[in-house]
Amino acid sequence: MTGLLYPWWVLVRFWTVPIRAESLAAFRIALATTILLAQFTGLGWNMQLCCTGDDPLIPSSTRDAWLARSGRICLLRGPVSLPLLGEWLPDRIFGSYFKPTRQALENWCPAKWAEAWREWGERPENIQLLFRVYLLSLGMVLIGLRTRLMTLVALLLAATFNNRMVELLNGGDSLFRLGLYYLMLSPAGATWSVDAWLRDRWQSTALPQPWTRPRYIEPWSVRLMQIQIAFMYLFTGLTKLADVRPDAQWGWWRPRGDWLDGNALYWVLNDVALTRWSFAQFPVPLFACKLLTWGTLLFEIFFPLLVLFRWTRGMTLLAGVALHLGILLTMEIGWFSQVTLCWYLLFVPGERLAAWLHRMLGRTPTAPE
């Protein structure tokens, strides 16, 4: 295919040509493992202090007004913002349009039941029970048993606990939820899962084992996830590049600030509220700070472009791994780096991941279906 139609042909192939399912499966396994570990060291660790203790730091009553205002979901606080059960089609969006229809599609849960639901969600034993269900659902996502349903359950409960203790969260938690959301849309249990193993067992015993058998999926869900992570880098880079405020000479978008003058990393490494150790213990030369600052800026802004082409993709991903390992090593900001690295698996071809696995297991891959 050449000529004017070539870009169209590339675009159609990008969205429609089936891809190997291993990348998505590896992302599922890595993400579920990371979220599980994060819960044990994060929200689970602070649950007693902030949520279920005798005098919790975040009393449950402080959530209700905020949940209703922001349209967030927390199953511990009743049907607030839940589709059909609570108010979820507000006037703020739709004005006076379709008012009778909207009213018919809202608040199906009677007030008395909603109150009973809220009271149920205040009891510590119920919070702990729901948290165990959350961990169990993540375990099911990890092994790929009833994958889509369990991802939906994990997503709902992630939102529940994140919104119950929202003051304790950072960008890593947003990436956890985003990952679960996209996994729910995708055929995440197509391979390397109990679902795939059971499916193969029922269909035919003559077929090779699911761990060695190639599987193909429609690519659109993986493409959406790749675009999501590209947007994350692009926009975080753009906000670093320019200050958006009135400027007599440049109008609204004037490139300036710590990232352009190269000192950003120096200030980040000096932030004694965030760093693992003092800059005074391991000072980094200023020229190195400047190079790393500009390198990070270029990486973030050009990530969507660089990752698009096969010949630059590998180096870009390696640079990203180095960046996030650097953040993990020097900054105490929770699980942000680890969860971001999980998303990188979506850019690694499934064939390569399968080959790595076969090498580890000492098996030879079978021919494609």
Partner: protein
């Protein structure tokens, strides 16, 4: 024959649903990301281009050629609500400029009936900013950042205010647990913001300036706000 037709219809329906899902998500990402970061700036630009009218319009908005406000508001609210409900918030703002030149830490000063007092720093505040190792504790730091950012409405009128009261009680409990052998009872608890300033790029790397301390609010040990 009927089965083949049904299969074809099924494939068409599935393809249509997938196209709708993909289109919606691309639209959502394209709208939500810029609005999350530059909402005010975009609005100001639209006002400058005479494409925005508030309700009621300000004098400089009265000559607007078109009014994009209703469409803008609709898209903003729709995508915002979708993000909040599904947990797909965007707003990627890690380490945006201007970067901090100083780090605030929350502390409490316990004042006793005998006139003595003690300042209890946050667990996250390094005792020596030139020599420390930090592992964990970032979630309580995030909570303390929220507590430090005092709301304009305080007391019963603010449904989130019990968080401030609970924090005070926790700090008192924590101090009592660590000093179980003392018979002193605090009568007043003062919330403090303690600042550590970082050395500039051309200063010696160990020149952190600590000590500045700002009184935020006073509470009873039970967490009630004092005048």
């Amino acid at each position: 024959m009927a089965r083949q037709l049904l299969q074809r219809v099924g494939r068409c329906v599935k393809a249509t649903i997938i196209v709708m899902i993909v289109t919606w998500h691309l639209f959502f990402l394209l709208i939500r990301n810029p609005l999350d970061l530059w909402d005010d700036a975009i609005k100001q630009w639209l006002v400058q281009q005479q494409l925005w009218q508030d309700d009621p319009p300000t004098p400089e908005q009265e000559d607007a050629r078109y009014n994009l406000r209703p469409a803008y508001r609709f898209l903003d609210e729709l995508t915002h609500r979708y993000a909040q409900t599904t947990g797909t918030e965007q707003r990627w703002v890690m380490f945006t400029p201007p970067l901090a030149r100083r780090a605030p830490f929350l502390a409490v000063r316990l004042e006793f009936a005998d006139g003595s007092q003690v300042v209890v720093p946050s667990d996250n505040e390094p005792p020596d900013p030139t020599d420390f190792l930090r592992i964990g504790g970032w979630q309580i730091r995030k909570l303390e950042d929220v507590i430090m950012d005092l709301p304009s409405t305080r007391g019963a009128a603010n449904p989130e205010w019990p968080m401030w009261e609970a924090y005070i009680r926790w700090r008192v409990r924590h101090w009592k647990k660590n000093y179980a052998d003392t018979d002193r009872e605090p009568v007043r608890v003062v919330l403090l913001k303690r600042i550590i300033e970082f050395p500039g790029p051309f200063e010696p790397p160990n020149r952190y300036a600590s000590g500045e301390s700002e009184e935020l609010l006073s509470f009873s040990p039970e967490g009630k706000l004092l005048p």
